[in-house]
Amino acid sequence: MTDIPPPDPAGPKTAAGPAASPVLPYGHPPTGPEQQGAGPGVPRCLSCGYVLVGLNDPRCPECGRWFNPWDPSTFNTRPPFLRWRYWLPGLVLALAAGLLGYAAIVPFSGWGWPAVFVIPFSAGTILGYGVRVKWVVLPMLGLILLAGLLFGLFSMNFAGVYCGLILAGMALGPILVGIGAGWLLRAILKRSRFSQRWHLPTLISLLLPLACAVFDRLTWTPPPLETVRTSAVLDVPAGRAWDGMRFYEQVDERTAGPRPRLFAWHWLGLPRPLSNGGSVAIVGGRETCVYDKGRLVKQVTARDEGRRLAFRVVEQGFETHSMRLVDGSFTFEPIDATHTRVTLETTYAPRLRPRWAWRPSEAWTVHTLHGYVLRGMEARGRLAMMDDGGRMKDERESATAASPSSSDVAGGLP
């Protein structure tokens, strides 16, 4: 309203009558659906919101409050009802309910189905029930809710980025289903005369994860050990493959190539090996690897020269919330003079439930790790077979271009 003309002592002429009281024109009308509610707009009464445009009398016809057309402090040009009130309280409530649910349930019953599915569902229900927006906006609010929950989990140190992203993939469905349920419940109850409809559905949505967590804790049984095996045929003789045997931490990027993106992208938060020491030359020997998040110590439990090496994990200083590594092994099976089937095996005690939801991503992660180890072993074996001039030594000369390349190793992975 800065363009209101200065007061005219004689009083402005208006269409309604000569020498009448000053008439307020539109300031900068916020016309158009996309501009409504933004910026200075039509002058309104400070008390009741009556639109004061074009009045001949500087007084609100509804409540009687006086205003001065040349004094912007006597009227209001802000929109009387802010649209964020339609959705922001519901979104904040859903976010707070979800984060409080995680804070209460994860330390109580761990990462079980209540934390993975019920909390997102309840948060989605609160969102769908508590916001008043078009249905097309609800999925977008669901995504914002999911991002907020993820950020909260990172901040509370309940999940790393990688686990959090997998969790997000699993939680998106329950959130959307919850939003649909909340929206439907709202559509039904708003036509009813149910006196408790303001608070009861929200209260139930808040308490549902807690009840599920109690039930989950009471019925909890330790999940069985999981074993992931990865086999590949390496393009090297068994002896060279055995000599090239390396743990993941020992694989040299200069020979094996860059690490898989899953492990190379440090922003994902997966543990990164820094150094390693020790020996696996004898049974009982220990290999210690220092990661950026803690130590991993492996002890050899069986060693059959050229055929099998087995170890168990005696110390694990990271990722204990998701799994406890138990043991593993390398098994070598000669196929012919120049090819060897190598099988890597990792056994762990899972901590994340439900197993059917987490198992595929865990298996994929371990397979990716195994694949990189196998690639490193093959590269090291091939390197050992080369002479100083970079040519294959005698044992390889019989094998020609028909042999599979290192990419076949990855291709042979399950």
């Binding site: 269409a15 409504q36 400070l46 008390s47 919101g49 009556y50 409540c63 205003f67 009387p80």
Partner: protein
């Protein structure tokens, strides 16, 4: 309740009645925001009133925009009746929305809002929204009717939501203003 009629001659009449949980005076206080209520149509991207004050005869420049395409149309405020409890006629206004090529092109129509008190305690009111015009596009009547139903339905829904929002705002606000905070003397009753 929405009703959309398109006759064989192309005459269009869209009508809707809304029961609002506001007194007629309070509702009129919101409805007076002419540019806002003239913009509830999907296509009315910008409505400008000549002189800045809506009154009978004021020329309008109505900018239509949809899916990136824009066209300027013109109009005029045809009727403007302030709310007066003593006047049995409904308060409201109407305005025309015409093509710049002339009054017989591009769906010429008149948009009208009429507000009347309702309820025994006058705590409610009834708003009638009427659009009358002539359908000029060479499309089947059923298609025109469907199209108008969609657009008019959106207008009615937007208007209803605006008044419901106003009702919520009034419900949440503190009671009536204290006379001491008024900026000037009240008129004698």
């Amino acid at each position: 309740m929405i009703r959309v009629d398109v006759t064989r001659s192309g005459a269009v009449c869209c009508r809707a009645d809304l029961d609002l949980p506001l007194s007629a005076r309070a509702a009129w206080g919101r409805l007076r925001d002419f540019t806002r209520f003239a913009s509830h149509d999907y296509f009315h991207a910008d409505v400008r009133v000549a002189g800045g004050v809506p009154r009978v005869g004021a020329a309008l420049a109505i900018r239509h925009r949809f899916a990136g395409f824009g066209v300027g149309r013109v109009g005029r405020i045809l009727r403007w009746r302030e709310f007066d409890p003593a006047d049995p006629r409904p308060a409201g206004y109407s305005f025309s929305d015409l093509s710049a090529r002339g009054p017989r092109h591009g769906f010429p129509h008149v948009f009208a809002y009429d507000l009347a008190p309702a309820g025994k305690a006058n705590d409610r009111c009834r708003l009638r929204i009427v659009v009358r015009g002539r359908w000029t596009a060479p499309v089947p009547r059923w298609a025109a009717r469907l199209w108008l139903w969609w657009v008019f339905g959106h207008v009615v829904l937007s208007v209803r939501n605006a008044f419901l929002a106003a009702a919520v705002t009034r419900k949440n606000a503190a009671g009536p203003p204290d006379a001491a905070v008024c900026y000037g003397p009240k008129e004698a009753p």
